[in-house]
């Protein structure tokens, strides 16, 4: 169905899906009668939920202001967790059959407690993902996965076989590989698609069946390949970093590009972080998923994982060199503690490497957009 569409038309479709992120999932539920499970938000083994015949979706931040949710979660918590609380408080998540919370961040734990309270009919599961990287960490992650698998099986009333998980791993690996192909194209031909397009690709992948998404990407990639050499390349090469849990707002991405920059790479959760690495298909599946958590964090270090063997600032320096990026734009979600703890080290690493960087602290309400615009323009101009 997507084969006859031009790349822009396909991207438009993906943008539509991303703009109304739960619609396709709701349709899917009607069509299949199967269960929909929301993941709150980062680091979930979606493959396990998929293997049970459910559709896992990564809950998305909505750009609209938080209103009803104010009564349930304090305003000094991060926008992503508050936005999901707000959606639950407005009954917008009633379509879920289950949701999974996680312990990667205390603000996400608190948010899932509130959502659990607001949605008493929705099955409330939890994924324990031990932090660190000690000799026993991988085994402990397997235990966390085994507990979650048991709870999903009870909830879905279905035994999940290794073959089921492996099958899901293959589908998800394919999706990751396809998106990485697009990333490679964008690194060399950054104007081929905008960073908002890139975001739509990732966001849509998080909220619709991966099988469908794979089909769409298989139509899109050859079209992008065919187009790439006709695109005129200009602009300051920028690398985007941060923005955990919530995707950077489209307004911000547009401002980056309007300032005269092109985005050549990122480490966003709604970006490269989500697809950086595949899960081994030739190992016992839970062990393979556990190893993946350690490996993908070595590839793209995450400050929530508390792994002292990783070096996020150095990763940024290396990635920027790899992508020939001139400047770093850091998008920091207001009140995001894991990110705030790391900023001084990133600042030092950038200074040492002679890479200019700009820190943008972004509130959910986006109340300082004019200032952001001025700062971005001045920053990008520096490199011209």
């Amino acid at each position: 169905m997507y084969q006859n569409l031009a790349s822009d038309e396909i991207l438009n479709k993906l943008t539509q899906i991303a703009a109304d992120p739960y619609e396709r999932a709701k349709e899917w539920k009607m069509e299949t009668g199967s269960k929909l499970i929301g993941c709150y938000i980062m680091h979930f083994p979606e493959e396990l939920l998929h293997a049970a015949g459910a559709l896992p979706i990564v809950l998305q931040v909505k750009e609209e202001p938080i209103t009803t949710g104010h009564a349930y979660y304090p305003s000094y918590f991060c926008g992503p967790t508050r936005s999901i609380v707000d959606q639950a408080a407005k009954s917008e998540l009633d379509f879920l059959d289950g949701f999974v919370g996680g312990d990667y961040c205390i603000q996400a734990v608190g948010g899932s407690e509130v959502v659990g309270n607001l949605l008493p009919k929705v099955n409330n599961m939890f994924f324990r993902l031990p932090v660190g990287n000690q000799a026993w960490t991988q085994g402990d992650i397997v235990t966390g996965l085994t507990e979650l698998k048991r709870d999903i099986e009870r909830f879905a009333d279905k035994e999940i076989s290794d073959e089921d998980i492996l099958n899901s791993i293959r589908i998800y690996n394919k999706n990751r590989s396809l998106i990485r192909e697009i990333y490679e194209l964008k690194s060399v031909h950054p104007s081929l698609l905008s960073s908002s397009d890139m975001l739509s690709i990732i966001k849509s992948s998080m909220v619709i069946p991966k099988e469908e998404h794979n089909e769409i990407l298989e139509s899109l990639i050859p079209k992008l390949q065919a187009k790439k050499d006709s695109i005129k390349e200009e602009g300051v090469r920028v690398f985007l970093s941060g923005s955990f849990c919530g995707a950077p707002k489209n307004d911000i991405l547009e401002l980056v590009e309007q300032s005269g920059a092109v985005v050549v790479g990122d480490d966003l959760f709604h970006g490269y972080r989500y697809i950086s690495d595949n899960i081994a298909e030739d190992k016992e599946p839970l062990a393979a998923i556990a190893a993946h958590y350690i490996d993908k964090n070595t590839n793209v270090p995450c400050p929530t994982r508390c792994d002292p063997k990783t070096d996020w600032p150095q990763y940024l320096v290396d990635s920027m060199r790899k992508h020939k990026a001139d400047q770093l734009v850091i998008v920091m979600t207001q009140f995001c503690e894991p990110h705030m703890f790391f900023y001084p080290d990133i600042k030092d690493a950038m200074q040492e490497a002679g890479i200019p960087h700009l820190l943008l602290e972004i509130s959910h309400e986006l109340d300082s957009i004019e200032t952001i615009k001025t700062r971005l323009e001045a920053f990008v101009e520096m490199a011209v």
Binding site: V109, G116, W136, D151, E337, F341
Partner: protein, 434 residues
């Protein structure tokens, strides 16, 4: 209309005994390097005995932050941290201790003039994290590890959140038992780690002895607090806040049994003689939230002025060796794990609510004060739910205000006054309606 006369809280006299122990502890710590002791940085719940058994000194990050603030020296380390790029929305304990650690590692910059306590922190030989119910704790320790150039060995005991899955409740159920086993196994590895750091085999005899002390002090404190179920209450939450040190970073320190025994005796004596914490107790309040250390004395008098006793709190009553009976000094690891796993911050919402309802009933609570510590989001995460549900289920009224542990820039005195007054007024109206 609530009438506020200037009345003073009648604070426990024996509380002062603990000051001597606190001074001894800091003296020992500051001189640790001179006396050839290794220094371990810790955060989270009290794990001092693990190190004390190996004759090592330990710094409790929050304890250090609170001490610096108590001497009004917190501004300089906080400014240093902020100048380095640490955002002021980060945990203020973390910012304060990291500022001090940076003075030690990077030196004092020319434009700052920190006090003596803020600059006397010894550098660590190891870092041990054991943080229940807060991801900020391990992240803070990781930041410390980086401040010291990634050279310091770091051991992180992962305390799994006790959500209450599959019917598991307080100290019961499959999830609870799995969690206990998991933590015990990590403690066994921690002991091996400490053997390496200290360079000698683990001294189990000393550890068992120290856990015997911990159990005794824990029991004395819980029994003394229990006596305050009486009306009027002989001591208040503010007394129990001061008495945190012997069950926190001073755990098993020599003299803690005697100090806590004296506290319990004084509470018993007050009870026998009809002496109360607040001269004319009319209302009984629950304090929900971490303590605001800069305002402790002020708060105690404030509530006394309204004839209100703050009798209990989640901070004091649901953590810090609050389950002493689970500790078997001969085989202490399981009991330590239980006390850590079942502490206030680590419990899932339904368990927290159930525990708070039980405490509210036991202590005949009329109202709750929610202190939303701006930079301790672990504590404030469930405040709005608790306020709504405790009101719905038990008819308990509440008020809330923002503050902080050791950063008083988040604290608006006028607002606090108005909110407390409003709560007292509504309690008064409720009482007069009968």
């Amino acid at each position: 209309m609530a009438v506020q006369e200037a009345k003073r809280a009648n604070r426990l006299k024996s509380g002062k005994l603990v000051n001597k122990l606190v001074n001894e502890y800091w003296e020992d710590l500051i001189n640790a390097k001179k006396t050839g002791k290794k220094v371990v940085y810790t955060t989270g719940l009290p794990i001092g005995p693990f190190m004390a058994a190996q004759d090592m000194a330990w710094i409790h990050g929050e304890g250090y932050g609170a001490r610096v603030a108590a001497r009004h020296e917190e501004k300089e380390p906080q400014t240093f941290a902020e100048n380095r790029g640490f955002n002021r929305e980060l945990c203020s304990y973390a910012r304060t201790q990291m500022g001090c650690a940076m003075f030690a590692e990077l030196g004092v910059p020319d434009d700052l003039n920190p006090g003596p306590i803020a600059t006397e922190i010894p550098a660590p030989d190891a870092i041990v994290t054991c943080y229940p119910g807060c991801s900020t704790g391990p992240q803070w320790d990781w930041a410390i590890e980086r401040v010291f150039g990634k050279k310091i060995p770091w051991f992180n005991v992962v305390i799994p959140y006790h959500m209450g899955r599959n019917g598991s409740t307080y100290m019961k159920g499959e999830e609870f038992e799995e969690n206990v086993k998991y933590v015990v196994r990590q403690f066994e590895d921690l002991i091996k780690f400490l053997e390496v750091v200290s360079g000698k085999p683990y001294n189990w005899d000393k550890f068992q002895e120290l856990m015997g002390v911990t159990k005794t002090v824990g029991k004395l404190r819980m029994e003394a607090m229990d006596l305050c179920k009486a009306k009027p209450a002989p001591a208040s939450f503010f007394d129990w806040s001061i008495q945190i040190a012997p069950v926190n970073y001073l755990t098993a320190w020599p003299g803690t049994i005697e100090a806590m025994q004296a506290v319990k005796d004084e509470v018993q004596e007050r009870l026998d003689n009809g002496v109360s914490a607040v001269p004319n107790e009319k209302y009984r309040i629950f304090w929900e939230g971490i303590m605001n250390w800069n305002k402790l004395g002020w708060m105690a008098d404030k509530f006394a002025s309204y004839d209100a006793t703050v009798v209990a709190g989640r901070y004091t009553h649901m953590a810090f060796w609050h389950e002493p009976d689970t500790i078997d000094p001969e085989h202490p690891l399981r009991g330590i794990a239980i006390n850590h796993l079942e502490c206030q911050l680590n419990l899932g919402y339904p368990i927290t609510e159930e525990r708070m309802m039980t405490l509210s009933k036991d202590y005949s609570i009329d109202g709750i004060v929610f202190h939303g510590a701006r930079t301790c989001r672990s504590f404030s995460r469930s405040h709005f739910l608790l306020a709504e549900n405790l009101n719905k289920k038990m008819g308990i009224q509440s008020t809330s205000f923002e503050g902080d542990m050791v950063d008083d820039s988040f604290y608006k005195e006028e607002l606090v006054n108005t909110r407390i007054e409003a709560l007292i007024e509504s309690l008064e109206a409720q009482k007069s309606r009968g």
